[in-house]
């Protein structure tokens, strides 16, 4: 994840080392080998499996388009796609503004902000499963926080009502990942030259005005990077949702990745599960390409013209 982040921010100002790239291409080799071994080859395997019928135990039989037909005609697929899209959109809409504000706040050099930024970082250090188990215990309608403190407002059926459960998933995901994205924005804000703010101040711009006219436009590529990570990441949310709701209640929070796991490892249908995996890959690729396009053709172009 962080590799993508740094390469994207680096690309914004890579104009001057373009000349030295040719002779150093061998340095990409180890990464390439890893990528081929752990991404490309398994991907081909999954693609092949999606045209077979296999229960994970016996022989693998070629089955043509059976698995694809089964998956595409199942009303569960559009539902899972829709839930995945909702999770993606909602978690983006919650995380982006919060992360930008926090990131700008933490970019200040004051000492207390440095302390706070360490504290904010803590959720990122916990494993998703641990976070999910903790929230599940806190939100338990009978033995959780609400029941313990006798607060009726908190004593909801948090994970048992479809809408509430969806909200809880978004909340917990945001709680976990806002620190990470704040960190990206913090770095982004710190790269904005101070002279811009000084010039704006001389012209009489207030805090709000400088935020919208300088900070936000200067963060354009950081926003794209962070959004790409959020959107691509939310496609593969699995552990957190699996432990928190197991896709429930009913199938209210069954995202594509969960649907894939349930078909493959619980229902022993590796063919259809592989078909869903392939769909996931293509949706993810399409989204990443789309977000790159949003950045415009001049993604490598400097934003600091005239400085």
């Amino acid at each position: 994840m962080s590799a993508v982040a740094t390469s994207a921010t680096a690309s914004a100002k890579s104009g001057d080392d373009r000349g030295r790239g040719g002779s150093l291409s061998w340095m990409a080799l180890p990464a390439l080998v890893f990528f081929a071994g752990f991404a490309v080859i398994p991907l081909i395997g999954v693609l092949v499996l999606s045209f077979t019928s296999w229960d994970g135990l016996g022989d693998i039989n070629f089955a043509g388009f059976d698995a694809w037909r089964a998956v595409l005609s199942d009303p569960g697929l559009p539902h899972a796609l829709w839930v995945t899209f909702l999770v993606m959109a909602a978690s983006w809409a919650v995380q982006t503004p919060a992360s930008i504000l926090l990131g700008v706040f933490l970019a200040g050099q004051q000492r207390y902000r440095a302390v706070l930024s360490v504290l904010y970082f803590i959720p990122l250090l916990l494993s998703s499963a641990a976070i999910a188990i903790t929230y599940k215990a806190l939100l338990d309608p009978n033995f959780g926080l609400g029941a313990g403190l006798k607060l009726p407002l908190l004593t909801q059926d948090w994970l048992g009502e479809p809408l509430l459960a969806f909200g809880v998933v978004i909340f917990v995901v945001s709680w976990q990942f806002i620190p990470f994205h704040s960190l990206i924005y913090q770095g982004g804000v710190r790269q904005i030259p101070r002279s811009m703010y000084e010039a704006a101040e001389l012209d009489g711009a207030g805090r709000v005005r400088t935020f919208f006219s300088i900070t936000l436009p200067q963060l354009k590529y950081t926003i794209i990077t962070s959004s790409t990570l959020m959107v691509a990441g939310s496609l593969t949310f699995f552990d957190l949702i699996f432990v928190l709701t197991a896709g429930g209640p009913g199938d209210a929070t069954r995202v594509l990745a969960l649907d894939m796991y349930k078909r493959g490892f619980q229902a022993n249908l590796m063919g259809p599960a592989s078909a869903i995996a392939v769909i996931l890959v293509f949706v993810g690729l399409a989204l990443a390409l789309f977000l790159r396009r949003l950045g415009g053709r001049d993604a490598g172009h400097s934003q600091l013209d005239g400085m």
Binding site: D59, N142, L159
Partner: protein, 437 residues
Amino acid sequence: MGLPMGAALAACGSSGPTQAGAGGGGGGTGGGGAGSATYWYLSTQPQEGVRTRTIERFNKANPNGKITGTTFQNDAFKTKIKTAIGAGQAPTLIWGWGGGTLRSYVQAGQVDDLTSFFDENTALKDRLFPSSFGAATIDGKIYAMPCETMQPIVLYYDKRAFEKIKAEPPQSWGDIMALVPKFNAAGIAPFSLGGQSRWTNMMWLEFLFDRMGGPEVFQAVFDGEKDAWSNPIAIDALTKMQDLIKADGFIKGFSSITADSNADQALLYTGKAAMMLHGGWTYGGMKQDGGDFVPGGNLGYMNFPPIDGGTGDPSNTVGNPGQYISISSKATPEQKEIAKKFFTTELMGDQAVKEWVETGAVPIVNGADKQFTGSPDADFLNFAYGIAANAKTFAQSWDQALSPTAAEVLLDNIAKLFQLSISPQQFTENMNAVIGK
């Protein structure tokens, strides 16, 4: 993925020398007995302790052919054993619940046929409950040794709650429906339920189907009869189920409670819920965690009551008729020999039976009830033994009986049925679509 050492050893040993003269009775043949059999099992206590001590006793008596055990958590085990078997890396002894999962192993040729082994060891076969062999038998052949304990699903209740509202435990479905508003008025949830686990909801349907139409209703599904779920009795049972949910029969928030966390048992022993339909294994859990609840005599238990107008025999029960151990067909002859020796000696030996009784469960051994006297859990043990001994049918849990594919669809639809997001008619349509799969 990190397979444990034991599995790797098993795979390496598959080219080992074939041992000659391995008779059925299997006296310690000795010589070249370097192989050791592998055994994966569940890590839940107190059961894990019994399994571990059983292996230790066996290893002590058989220094030349030992068993190496590895423990796993329940859900991790289910996935891991499947993956290992699929990859040809199965342990020698494959532990499980029999039924549909065992059938999938058999169809893949991964487990040995033990029919002739039991023909040669009639004493062993006669020692075990005949009803426990059903889930080990696929197409007339036995593929697993039934072992450990049988776990009927029983209706637990809190005597204090019934005293509070001055009522008697339900004797019929009508009683249950009449009790619901009374308990709700007293601020006690009528039934506890760990609904997120889904199979917990399924136990209710198993009893409703059985009490209303007998085991034949589900048997038709199991046998793959077309549209078997559309049976009017099934629709009626599903409707009754939703009626109970709509009447607030279950604790608020049941669909987010998991059975793995034992929160459903906690609701019963903390007095938040009055009754709970659950497996026999929860008795031990409530005794361990519930403080004075079980020793103080507050826990009541009974078989599921009859349903007015139903044709099912009220002595019937459902649950796990036993646990099952198969022998991997990929194991070496030495390993298989060790496994069979384990079956005939320690697995369900006298000491093992005694220790299983101490966990508060009924071992699947004829005459096990003689061990109950003097046990602090004698009442419950005799009750559970009586259910198993008197049941006209001891049906296996649906999700274990069906193939994993059909079971997943079933559990999924049961969750939706309990969520009231699908009607009984939609449930039957969805389920008819996967009959025989």
